[in-house]
Subunit: 325 residues, 2 copies
């Protein structure tokens, strides 16, 4: 069985479980939208990492299904509330919850998903359930703090790169690292293995986010699955923009500075900004940063015993580089 | 020391702890509003119940401080998000979070408070931490389901009394009963005592909500601390209105029905509706229901060993009847 088929096997386990968590629950006004968002398409990256992390330290993946599902639910809650805060209309090709229903429903749906994710996590049978809950909880605390920083950055003109890295580590990285760490704990890993898995998750999370920034500048709508150049139009202080503003001079600097100062720019400037990114070598810098994080992630994996699941995690890390969407 | 002084002693412990949970935490964009809302005035009913419940089964109240604080935090999260959903401007005499800041901040603040409440709860040292977490989590699930029902009822014209009771049991009762149950578990109560505390909380929660409905119809602005008659103006399907519509005939029925059908009425009808409540004996019915729930609550307390804390819980239940705000 190749890695991709194997990945889908894990993904299907999560999809199946996600369709079970709301069954028979009422009232419909909150559970219909919860079903809608939990059963939508999703790559299920975080829960698959949890299951693989569990296996990689000699645990059985079925021990981690509830925790993995909880991790995906928690991720879904952040999407629902972030979409309200960003006033986004679509998510994974479908209407966002607050557009299909309304803002009040989306708020309540997010809240209820948090509670249900704890309910799911608490189904885990592990003598270390307390540690698992602490890691999970710290993950949410960090995600919210990261979201707060992200929102602060929208209003600030002077964000610098280390601040940005800190923000994505919190907003994206913390749940990926928690996902991996929780899998390691459930699998019965020793403290070094668990730390290695956590560090693996941190680097994967960071690589994923920088790749996301990169794709907005180099992908096409067809492969990206959504409009490209959106980050430029909205003046988002991405890895690329923050790097470019450090290097740019003269007219280049003026244009990038105006994108930041005016919180965005018109669509006709997308290509100009992209051209600056290319000319200043920003695309290569970002690509190198992604590769670097992935190689750090893999170095951490090397601390785990050799196994099929570790191979899967290696494969998974390397596929990030080929990610087009 | 009299009961009231004693109550304030417990309340002060919670107030102090609430001021500590956010200390040194950043970013300010989320923690300033969290401090604002956690450190506002509040009766701290739920956490005091947790501490008394713990003591009443021979536990020490300092064992339950973290859990009690977590319970109050969870209650505060529901206030912040409910205020957004109801678009309320004031809470406990001050601006609501979404009015003082904005809706996005209020959403994030609520989310972060949920996470912090789990963090606080997880500080509890108890061999039964898993049960405690399950009770706490089920509490949130029920609160959200209750809120969903409450919002559904706003749109429905045919809500009946048993549905209303179910809704308040979920929205108000579930956190009060969880608060009492968690205290009982931490205190090391046996299963009968823990169940008695849970049932005590359920009845107290129900009594509290019916009393709330009652005060809106019989209190004065000065003692109630907010406008009275608001439920009538907004056509809220309260214990009183749902009872009255069952009993009313002729013109009375027409007026009450129009309050329900039009989702409210003008201020000039407040006194007419109040007059109907009086004439049909609805005020007495509500008062009797509150008394009945309080006596059920006290019967459950009788299953606990006699102690100072149980006396405090008896006193607390009886003061509900004298509650004016």
């Amino acid at each position: 069985m190749n890695f991709s088929t194997q990945y889908n096997k894990y993904k299907n386990i999560i999809d199946k479980r996600l369709s079970q968590v709301t069954i028979y629950r009422k009232p419909n006004s909150v559970y219909f939208p919860i079903k809608y968002i939990l059963e939508g398409t999703g790559k299920r990256i975080r829960p698959v990492i949890t299951m693989l992390a569990c296996e990689s330290v000699c645990g059985k993946n079925n021990k981690s299904i509830f925790a993995a599902t909880a991790v995906e639910m928690l991720h879904t809650f952040t999407l629902v509330h972030d979409d309200v805060m960003d006033n986004s209309s679509t998510r994974r090709g479908r209407k966002t919850v607050h557009k299909k229903w309304d803002v009040n429903t989306a708020i309540l749906v997010g809240d209820e998903i948090i509670a249900l994710s704890y309910k799911e996590l608490l189904k885990t049978s592990s003598k270390n359930i307390e540690s698992i809950l602490k890691v999970f909880t710290n993950g949410i605390v960090k995600v919210c703090e990261g979201q707060a920083l992200d929102k602060e950055f929208e209003l600030r003109k002077n964000v610098i790169l280390p601040e940005y890295i800190k923000m994505i580590d919190m907003k994206t990285g913390s749940m990926v690292s928690s996902a991996a760490e929780i899998g390691g704990i459930i699998g019965g890993g020793n403290s070094k293995e668990i730390l290695a898995l956590r560090k693996f998750g941190e680097s994967i999370g960071r690589a994923f986010q920088i790749q996301d920034d990169l794709l907005d500048a180099i992908s096409t709508k067809k492969t990206f699955g959504k409009e490209v150049g959106n980050d430029i139009i909205s003046g988002k202080k991405t890895f690329l923009l923050l790097h470019a503003i450090k290097k740019a001079k003269g007219k280049d600097y003026q244009l990038l500075k105006s994108v930041i100062n005016k919180n965005g720019t018109s669509g006709k400037n997308i290509n100009k900004v992209k051209e600056i990114y290319k000319r200043l070598g920003i695309i290569e810098i970002a690509l190198k940063a992604v590769k670097n994080e992935i190689s750090i992630a893999c170095r951490h994996l090397n601390k785990l015993p050799a196994s099929k699941s570790r191979e899967m995690l290696f494969w998974f890390a390397s596929t990030l580089l080929q990610r087009k969407f």
